[in-house]
């Protein structure tokens, strides 16, 4: 059990690690979808999360095409494990969410009002908070979300900020992506988790996947 002394490089992740991450994220994101559905009063579905290793150059494409204009809500994960959560909502989903939550008619607004901004951040808080508290219980580690920050621009330009944080320590990042949607409501969004490379080992250890057990896969 000398894995404590060796840091696990992202490039060394094996199938079993990725499967374990996918499984624990699946549970967490299921809880997040339930929380959102309680907030909007409509059923929210979530697709099984995809776990991918990607170079910095590939990340904007995974997140959704660098030039697409979206609302991005960003939260840092603090605590024993550090990382980044990014929620991406295409504009038509933002309008549908806002009209559902405020009762406003579906406007054509391009500008976000203060009310829209705080509402979208609250959606971010609820999704990230319920995801992280599920993970805390599963993994027995502390995970605290920061206050959400909001950006309204091209996907590539928003994700830049996260890549700058990660890029100081790595060239390859783990991207966990899940799509959630409310049927018939035109609400869909993506939940992205980009753990800090140093934290990966801790997550995997907490999920009881040990180095070496995946050799035969």
């Amino acid at each position: 059990m000398n894995s404590r002394t060796q840091s696990l490089a992202i490039e060394d992740l094996k199938h079993i690690h990725l499967d374990a991450l996918q499984e624990i994220c699946n549970i967490g994101m299921g809880h997040a979808a339930t929380a959102l559905s309680q907030m909007i009063g409509k059923p929210v579905h979530i697709n099984a999360p995809q776990v991918r290793l990607a170079s910095m150059a590939e990340v904007p494409e995974i997140i959704g095409g660098a030039e697409q204009v979206v609302v991005g809500i960003y939260l840092q994960i603090r605590g024993e494990v550090q990382g980044n959560i990014l929620l991406i909502f295409p504009m038509e989903s933002v309008q549908a969410l806002v009209s559902l939550l405020t009762g406003e008619g579906p406007g054509q607004q391009i500008a976000l009002t203060e009310l829209h901004v705080s509402m979208l951040k609250e959606v971010g808080n609820i999704l990230a908070g319920s995801y992280l508290s599920t993970m805390e219980q599963l993994l027995q580690i502390t995970l605290l979300p920061s206050v959400p920050s909001l950006a309204f621009d091209m996907v590539g330009a928003i994700v830049d900020y996260i890549l700058i944080q990660l890029g100081q320590e790595t060239d390859t990042t783990l991207v966990i992506k899940a799509e959630f949607f409310a049927k018939d409501q035109k609400i869909r969004g993506h939940f992205f988790l980009l753990p800090d490379p140093i934290s990966l080992e801790l997550i995997l250890r907490a999920s009881r996947v040990q180095e070496g057990t995946g050799e035969t896969r």
Binding site: S7, A9, E11, S55, M56, A57, E58, V59, P60, A66, E67, V69, Y74, L75, Q76, L112, V117, S146, V147, S149, L150, A151, F152, D153, M154, V155, G156, A157, I158, V159, D160, Y161, L163, I164, G167, Q168, E169, T170, D171, T172, I198
Partner: protein, 178 residues
């Protein structure tokens, strides 16, 4: 007539091409695009840099320089600009004729959306990238002909090697040529 090729430049990459060609980089936020060309030979390059300097890695990182195996030096403004300059010269550019234009370095989480004092995003990152790029260009003696930096919007860049025009389009629909 055959259409001039358009080459993608992704984050932490650079491309060098000879006219007729366009180099394109999508969705730069706090990143900086550095275009350098030689107007006589009409050879130019575009770099899409993520971080200011290879010298200021996080000291808390467990293994700042080694463990990170496919380490990509071109994510750093200093290394990317120097290597791109060398490549331009290898392809026939004259060092003394090189001209640069830069764009990017925005703050993507502006105060108007983020009034909470605990807001985690630090706005200075784009500015540091711009300063680092300018510093490196100055050190290499490459004159900066034009810039479109800062602000609170993402940019898509198209660099036309034939004219040396750097066309910037933003999410708000603005198009500027520098």
């Amino acid at each position: 007539m055959k259409k001039a090729p358009c080459l993608r430049v992704r984050i932490s990459e650079f491309q060098v091409a000879r006219t007729p060609a366009t180099l394109k980089s999508h969705g730069l936020g706090s990143c900086v695009g550095v275009a350098i060309y030689d107007p006589q030979t009409k050879i130019g390059g575009l770099a899409h840099v993520l971080l200011p300097s290879s010298k200021k890695l996080n000291p808390n990182s467990p293994s700042p320089d080694t463990a990170d195996s496919p380490r990509n030096p071109f994510k750093f403004a200093d290394l990317a600009i120097e290597e791109m300059r060398d490549e331009l010269i290898r392809q026939g550019c004259e060092a003394g004729r090189l001209i640069a234009k830069i764009a990017g370095g925005a703050n993507m989480f502006p105060n108007r959306y983020n009034t909470n004092p605990d807001h985690v995003v630090k706005p200075g990152i784009g500015k540091r990238n711009v300063q680092a790029a300018k510093g490196k260009l100055k050190e290499l003696g490459i004159s900066l002909a034009a810039e479109d930096v800062g602000g609170e919007h993402g940019r898509t860049l198209e660099f036309d090697i034939e004219t040396g025009n750097l066309c910037i389009s933003t999410s708000t629909g603005d198009v500027r040529i520098i």
